[in-house]
């Protein structure tokens, strides 16, 4: 499914992805989605459509370790985040939450807001209206986590396959 590209710059920190003032309240995912990128691009939350792609520069997700910075984009229906690089904790949290995070400089340089992109995780390919781009493919296990919708469902599923869990 092709989605619209939303492009941002370098060092997008977790505070502008999901404001700190909401972190100590319990919030259902739909509610979190309403605050996604609130302090960066106030239009984003109301206009984002399922399947859209967030594209950014270096060090996306730097700052605090809050998991909501991943959950809010996932709940908003974002298909993937493509950046030149990710802050380490953001990258891990995102995958464990089931949000694909792709590191690929060439795509970021090529795309602008309003372009179209689609991510094929298995093939390690980003298909866009500006051409196709390859990225180092994820391992089968990471694809598995992403497809299951996060680490806990994935773990459950794997244990069931092995007959270790009913």
């Amino acid at each position: 499914m092709k989605g619209k590209v939303w492009k941002y710059g370098d060092n997008i920190n977790t505070d502008v992805i999901f404001p700190g003032k909401y972190t100590y309240t319990l919030m259902p995912p739909e509610e979190m989605a309403k605050h996604a990128l609130e302090d960066l691009d106030p239009e984003f939350a109301s206009k984002v459509k399922p399947g859209d792609v967030v594209v950014a520069g270096r060090n996306f997700g730097c700052g605090s370790s809050r998991e909501q910075a991943g959950s809010c984009l996932k709940a908003a229906g974002v298909q993937a985040v493509i950046a030149k690089s990710f802050a380490r904790i953001y990258f891990r949290n995102a995958v464990n939450l089931g949000l694909p995070v792709i590191q690929c400089e060439a795509v970021v340089d090529a795309l602008e807001t309003g372009d179209e992109a689609e991510v094929d995780l298995g093939a390690g390919l980003v298909k866009t209206n500006k051409g196709d781009f390859v990225f180092p493919p994820f391992s089968a296990s990471v694809i598995g986590i992403l497809e299951a919708g996060g680490l806990i469902p994935y773990t459950r599923q794997k244990l069931k396959e092995k007959g270790l869990l009913k």
Binding site: S85, R92, S139, L151, T155, R156
Partner: protein, 417 residues
């Protein structure tokens, strides 16, 4: 092209040749957790499994709030003890033991060539022994308990080539602070950091642990020294299992290489409120302090207490200053006790705390009031870390902290050694 230590260890674990940038799913040799085990237990229960996949790999060390500071903490510990019993976990260390990273190392779990994951960001410490050791989240830890598997991205590596020798009064803490100041708090984000070069041999294992511990403060995934004779001798006598040292190839690929001459390193201080806000002691000398802390997983070992005792021998802590001394483990405590170090510190006016994290994380035993200034040997000085949001935390070496307690203000230790 050759491989770095990280690439090699992860290749061995993955059963194929892997390079920086790839993601592997691997089975760790040990899984560390501490007081947060109660939260992990909750997540583990949610998965629905009854038994841990590999109980012999699980190491739980209670250290963060020990002995329990409140009923809530007590219940937390109780849940963990009951779980340990229920699952028959062989590697459990209760509240008398000390800070997890020190205990884990002393008890022979941190070994060359091993892969260790821990639900604590300073798990990086074990790289001092050539271990690939990395911090993971709580949810992930629950999943590793259940499946014996964790996914890891193979990190690129930054190499620091260390030359020369530290001057008297300058410690490895000053060196790592300097590196963090130069590189920035995100300078090694997601990367491995290799400390090598001719100066490494002159650094004790304790001094190396300071650096791998604080590699986390430049964003590193792991930091390490290649195991040398000194390291191998130390680990061989305590190893909990067989191990095979791993070394980087000469033609391994490094993302960046930085050279440092240790002769040029001065005593440094990380100023509020970030660890990369590093200045030479001379720039902040004279700043009044209210509380001083010598200890934690960063600088609570015998060599740290020993240098403090040398400085404080026959001296008194300034009347306006509270000096807290926190040996990193029970073993450290015993050695500092029998060698007279603790007596010297006691006579100087120090309060000797029981081994553990103590005031490092601001949970108990020495919370700061608004407006107070602390000088600590710990690894983090974030706003609010040791209590009030309006307190100020400076980080320095044990020598700098000890000298400063005599004068009641931040002081260059070189005049005292």
């Amino acid at each position: 092209m050759g491989q770095t230590l990280s690439e090699k260890i992860l290749s061995q674990k993955a059963g194929r040749q892997v390079r920086a940038g790839e993601v592997v799913s691997v089975s760790p040799d040990y899984i560390l957790s501490h007081d947060n085990s109660a939260a992990i237990i909750q997540e583990f229960r949610e998965i629905g499994l009854e038994k841990l996949a590999s109980p012999e790999k699980v190491v739980i060390i209670l250290d963060h709030v020990v002995p329990a500071a409140s009923e809530k903490h007590a219940l937390n510990h109780k849940i963990i003890r009951e779980f340990v019993k229920e699952q028959g976990l062989p590697h459990f260390f209760d509240i008398e033991s000390g800070v997890c990273h020190q205990v884990f190392s002393e008890k022979g779990f941190a070994l060359p060539g091993l892969l260790v994951v821990g639900s604590d960001s300073h798990t990086t410490t074990y790289g001092a022994f050539g271990t690939f050791a990395v911090g993971i989240g709580r949810t992930e830890t629950a999943s590793v308990w259940a499946t014996d598997e964790v996914w890891l991205r193979v990190p690129e590596t930054i190499k620091f080539v260390l030359e020369g020798k530290l001057n008297p009064g300058v410690m490895s803490k000053d060196l790592i602070l300097r590196l963090i100041g130069d590189l920035g708090a995100e300078g090694a984000n997601y990367k491995a950091v290799e400390f090598s070069g001719p100066a490494v041999g002159s650094l004790s294992l304790s001094s190396r642990m300071v650096m791998t511990n604080m590699a986390a403060e430049m964003g590193a995934k792991n930091g390490y020294f290649e195991p040398d004779e000194l390291c191998l001798q130390w680990v061989e006598s305590r190893a909990k299992r067989p191990f095979e040292p791993v070394y980087s190839d000469e033609d391994a690929n490094y993302e960046a290489v930085y050279h440092y001459n240790l002769f040029e390193v001065e005593p440094c201080v990380a100023c509020p409120h970030s660890v990369d806000n590093v200045k030479p002691v001379s720039a902040v000398a004279g700043t009044t302090i209210h509380q001083a802390l010598i200890g934690t997983c960063t600088n609570g070992r015998v060599e740290d207490l020993e240098v403090a005792a040398r400085i404080l021998k026959k001296k008194r802590v300034s009347p306006g200053v509270r000096l807290l001394v926190l040996p990193a483990s029970r073993d450290v405590y015993a050695e500092a006790l029998s060698s007279g170090i603790l007596e010297t510190l006691y006579n100087a006016g120090a309060v000797i705390l029981n081994p553990g994290c103590g005031p490092c994380l601001g949970a108990h035993m020495g919370i700061l009031a608004p407006g107070e200034v602390a000088l600590s040997t710990a690894n983090r000085n974030f706003r609010g870390r040791m209590g009030s949001r309006d307190a100020f935390i400076y980080l320095a070496s044990p020598a700098t902290v000890a000298a400063s307690t005599i004068e009641g203000r931040i002081t260059d230790p070189r005049g005292y050694l």
